[in-house]
């Protein structure tokens, strides 16, 4: 590994000199050079005989004059003195003064001959030379990579290139570790800032990672992501307009074996009637997949309505929606003392709320009434199996109502969460079916129907090996199962404080999901509208250009790492520019996402 002097030689020429400095702010005086807020600089230092490189990021700069009048005086003079000018001196007379913060420093360890990165607890020496991280200089990019490797990452999911001011350092890629997806991620940015492209790049990186895992080029586990696609764009991306193809293009490039290992049975689900078209498939759920908690998580319910729904579900289990829609509640009133306590208005209100599940009014939910010949018919078990094999699943929700979109996310998240918990609770293979049934409220010994059909399906699939919860006759260790991430689009609609008040599956996942390898990706234009409890659980934030000052403040306030000094950056960020902040990184990193 190169030492300080060798790296300094590469960084030439000198950009400027460190002037006043304290632990809060550094000032650099430099020649009249074209720089931008956010530009990066390296300051070699040998204070105390320890070789260090400080990484300085400018947050503001000013034009100053060398040895002449104060700039304001010159401006005043120019205004009041007739026909006066300010002669254009060579660069050493017109200087710039940069102010900014130390992001951290890399320290050379002579024992290991390696550079380690630390948070900014120290200061460079007096009058240290300052070197500009010039975009386009591959040699300097290499130095940056050497010094900041632990922060940039070397493996995992590529998300973009380090941003220095306005330009990306193409040779300095930034990676998210794969485990970040089993934690919670916030993706914040206003309309048009490039959120979709970011998610597309992320999906591609996940697919690349999974491919490497299958080929044995990197250690597992694979990663699964459930990406809700409200605009139906991830599948074909810009292929229709002559641009790059989306997931379809990637999938088409796979060999048969790779398709088997990485894609089967599908990567694209839709509410459109496409039957089965390659690895695209019609997506539907059964009314039997639905619990009152799912509904409560996405729409307003009074306490009485919640209580009624839960009791009704407790009695009818997976048939509760059908019974409710049939209006078959009077019978219950006679038979069940507790239900008689509910006012007819409460019952009617709940009936109205589930009205959108009526046959003919939903493309998503199938009827469930075995006595009438409507058996359990849902793609949910297939989705669960696919996710537990490490898959990228895109669900096109263009033909779904907003409720349906939220509901499907909620159901899949809840079931996955329940299954992972059941898996963790099981001490042996024999115990697993009963744990799964319990987690799905199905306990026949206590006449509790719950989600019996779904439980039956899942247990069958475990036995057939489709759901990989048993390995070599033993319970599969969770570490060998994929990291799961569920993307929640328009997050404020379901993760707002009012919705979380009566409990939500997402509140549970945000608090406990990490333990079970399930993470959420909270996608939103607004940070302020999201429940504080969820925000505090985010470990990684990908912050893009935000709409207003309040949102920027909220983003800074809730970031996992200190974003002091990035306020201005957030204000001027262009399309595809992101500030990543993560609890597992020492410093926030500005990144340019490449156009997919």
């Amino acid at each position: 590994m190169a030492k300080l002097n060798e790296l300094v030689k590469i960084l030439q020429p000198r950009f400027g000199v460190l002037a006043e400095s304290n632990t809060y702010q550094l000032t650099v005086i430099a020649s009249d050079t074209d720089v931008a807020v956010g530009d990066l600089f390296l300051l070699p230092s040998n204070r105390g005989g320890v070789e260090r490189f400080y990484v300085f990021r400018t947050t503001q700069y000013a034009n100053i004059m060398n040895r002449t009048l104060e700039m304001n005086d010159v401006a005043r003079n120019k205004l009041t003195m007739p026909d006066s000018y300010l002669a254009d001196d060579l660069s050493d007379e017109k200087l710039i003064e940069l102010k900014g913060i130390v992001l951290g420093y890399a320290q050379h360890d002579s024992a290991t001959d390696d550079w380690s990165f630390f948070r900014p607890r120290r200061l460079p020496q007096h009058l240290t030379d300052v070197y500009h991280v010039t975009p386009g200089r591959t040699d300097i990019a290499h130095v940056v990579k050497t010094l900041m490797q632990s922060q940039l990452g070397t493996d995992g999911l590529y998300i973009g290139d380090l941003l220095a001011g306005e330009c990306a350092l193409e040779d300095v890629p930034v990676y998210l570790p794969t485990f970040a997806l089993s934690h919670h991620i916030g993706i914040f940015g206003k309309t048009g800032c490039g959120k979709s492209n970011l998610i597309m790049v992320l999906l591609h990186s996940i697919m690349q990672h999974n491919q490497k895992v299958v080929l044995g080029k990197t250690q597992g586990p694979p990663v699964s992501i459930l990406a809700i696609d409200p605009h139906d764009e991830f599948r074909t991306w810009h292929a229709a307009s002559g641009g790059s193809d989306g997931i379809r293009g990637i999938v088409n490039s796979y060999s048969d074996d790779e398709l088997k290992d990485l894609v089967e049975p599908f990567y694209y689900l839709t509410a459109k009637n496409i039957g089965r078209d390659g690895f695209a498939q019609r997506f539907f759920l059964s009314r039997a997949d639905l619990t009152p908690d799912d509904l409560i998580s996405i729409m307003d319910f009074s306490e009485q309505q919640i209580s009624f729904s839960q009791q009704f579900y407790g009695r009818h289990g997976e048939r509760w929606i059908g019974q409710l829609l049939l209006g078959d509640t009077d019978e219950n009133v006679v038979e069940e003392e507790t239900i008689t306590e509910f006012l007819p208005g409460t019952v009617a209100a709940v009936q109205r709320r589930v009205g959108f599940l009526r046959h003919g009014q939903t493309r998503l939910f199938t009827r469930f009434d075995p006595e009438m010949g409507y058996d359990y018919d849902s793609t949910l078990p297939d989705v669960i199996c696919a996710i537990e094999h490490g898959r990228v699943l895109v669900i096109d929700t263009t033909l779904m109502t907003e409720f349906e979109q939220f509901l499907l996310t909620t159901i899949i998240a809840r079931v996955l969460f329940a299954l992972r918990k059941a898996l963790r609770s099981s001490e042996n293979v024999g115990q697993l079916p009963s744990e799964i049934r319990q987690s799905l409220d199905n306990d026949d010994s206590n006449q509790q129907v719950g989600m019996r059909s779904l439980a039956d399906e899942l247990i069958n699939r475990i036995e057939s090996g489709q759901l990989p919860y048993i390995t070599d006759g033993e319970i599969t260790i969770q570490n060998n199962l994929p990291y799961i991430n569920i993307v929640i689009e328009e997050a404020p609609s379901i993760l707002n404080p009012a919705r979380m008040k009566f409990g939500s599956v997402f509140r549970d996942i945000s608090r406990q999901g990490r333990k079970f390898g399930i993470g959420l990706s909270v996608v939103s234009q607004q940070v302020s509208e999201i429940d504080q409890g969820v925000l505090t659980q985010l470990n990684t934030e990908l912050i893009m250009s935000l709409g207003n000052e309040n949102e920027r403040k909220e983003a800074i306030k809730n970031a996992s790492s200190d974003l002091m000094g990035f306020e201005r950056e957030l204000q001027v960020m262009g399309k595809g520019q992101v500030i990543t902040s993560a609890s597992f990184k020492d410093i926030p990193l500005p990144i340019q996402i490449k156009l997919f």
């Binding site: 009048l69 010159v74 000018y85 300010l86 002669a87 254009d88 007379e93």
Partner: protein
């Protein structure tokens, strides 16, 4: 200074006497009506110039640290000089060009011991100019001027030998010599190496302190100053010395004459005018304010000029031969035109806000050459560090003033 009451009384008496003397001198009418009329006729106006045909103008200034460090009875002096070249520019007024010569920085070591000191002076002169001393003396026209003035001949070797080389501790005179030689060396480089430079300006005058003395003792910078004139006239460069603190008495009388000529209200200040001081052999009248002064200096033509009402009247000296060759004309109007053109160019160069009314290239040269307190300190430290690395003891370098509480 302790300012006791007893002491104060003596001072007050002295000051009163001084003031009386000054008042009496001031009250003496210095310009008669006839002279006023001559001045009025000689005063010429030029245009406030905000646009100019393309031209280049350079400026130099010198500075240093005199001395930087001392040890035993020897002293180290630092000389700095810087030249700048600008071209007229539509956007920024003046735009600086990359100089084709390096700034001058030189460290001179002067011991008190005679032989070594002389050697050190010669080494310094040659290092600063980049020329042999004899070459400077022989190429310059100073010798001719001195011979012509004193009606005797001088040999180059004698003049070389008798150059005034102040003692190592005579920091006042050393400062003048070093600063002047540094500045003129930079001017010579600018004249020789500056491409298509129309004007080269220095801060000062073309006065030659020892030219009128018959003795062989001369100052090296006198030779160098005249060498600059010779080199400039060969290249057609207007080499001018501009002095802002010339100290001519009765200057306000001239200002009043100008005001009246331009029919300004009382108290008003005329600007954009020049006045060529009567020159022996050119004009038949004389100016009483120059009585007792060698003005214009031998070999020079002197102008008084005002570029802007807020800046003082400057004295501008130019080489007489340059003047004869490039300005003097048979027709008075033609000569005025040539003079106007020069002053309009200088006026154009005097519109930078940092020194409005004064040619900016000189100011720029000054800014580059002047050393801040910090820079002086750094240079001193570097000199001592180098000496210590060479095997000397750090404690040899003392600052007696600091050590005795004088600084």
């Amino acid at each position: 200074m302790r300012y006791s009451i007893h002491f104060k009384k003596g001072i007050n008496e002295q000051l009163e006497h001084l003031a009386t003397e000054m008042r009496d001198w001031e009250d003496t009418p210095r310009i008669d009506e006839n002279e006023k009329e001559n001045i009025k006729k000689a005063i010429c106006q030029f245009n406030h110039t905000i646009q100019a045909d393309p031209f280049k103008i350079g400026g130099v200034d010198g500075s240093g640290d005199f001395p930087s460090v001392t040890y035993a009875d020897s002293f180290v002096y630092t000389t700095v000089a810087h030249g700048t070249i600008y071209r007229s520019d539509l956007i920024s007024g003046l735009k600086e060009e990359e100089p084709s010569f390096d700034p001058i920085i030189h460290f001179s070591w002067f011991p008190e011991e005679q032989e070594k000191r002389v050697r050190s002076w010669d080494k310094t002169f040659e290092a600063l100019t980049g020329l042999q001393i004899n070459d400077v003396i022989s190429s310059s026209d100073y010798l001719e001027l001195k011979s012509s003035f004193n009606k005797r001949t001088y040999s180059i070797s004698n003049l070389h030998q008798k150059l005034i080389r102040p003692h190592a501790s005579d920091s006042g005179n050393i400062a003048i010599q070093l600063r002047s030689v540094g500045e003129l060396s930079a001017a010579l480089q600018l004249i020789k190496n500056g491409e298509n430079v129309a004007y080269a300006l220095i801060d000062g005058t073309f006065s030659l302190p020892t030219v009128t003395r018959s003795s062989d003792g001369t100052l090296f910078y006198e030779h160098l100053k005249r060498l600059c004139c010779v080199a400039a006239r060969k290249k057609g460069v207007g080499f001018f010395a501009l002095s802002k603190s010339h100290g001519l008495p009765g200057i306000e009388n001239i200002e009043e004459i100008v005001r009246k000529k331009f029919e300004l209200e009382k108290g008003g200040k005329a600007e954009h005018w020049f006045l060529r001081l009567p020159t022996y052999g050119v004009e038949s009248w004389s100016l009483s304010i120059t009585d007792g002064r060698l003005l214009p200096p031998p070999g020079a033509i002197t102008y008084l000029v005002r570029f802007h009402k807020n800046t003082p009247i400057f004295r501008l000296d130019m080489d007489r031969e340059y003047w004869s060759k490039y300005i003097q004309s048979k027709s008075k109007e033609e000569m005025r035109q040539k003079e106007r053109r020069i002053f309009e160019h200088l006026d154009y160069a005097s519109h930078d806000q940092r020194c409005y009314g004064y040619p900016y290239p000189i100011k720029a040269g000054h800014d580059r050459a002047s050393l801040t307190k910090g820079e002086r300190g750094t240079l001193r430290k570097q000199i001592i560090d180098a000496a210590v690395r060479a095997g000397m003891k750090r404690q040899l370098f003392r600052n007696a003033s600091i050590a005795t509480g004088h600084e």
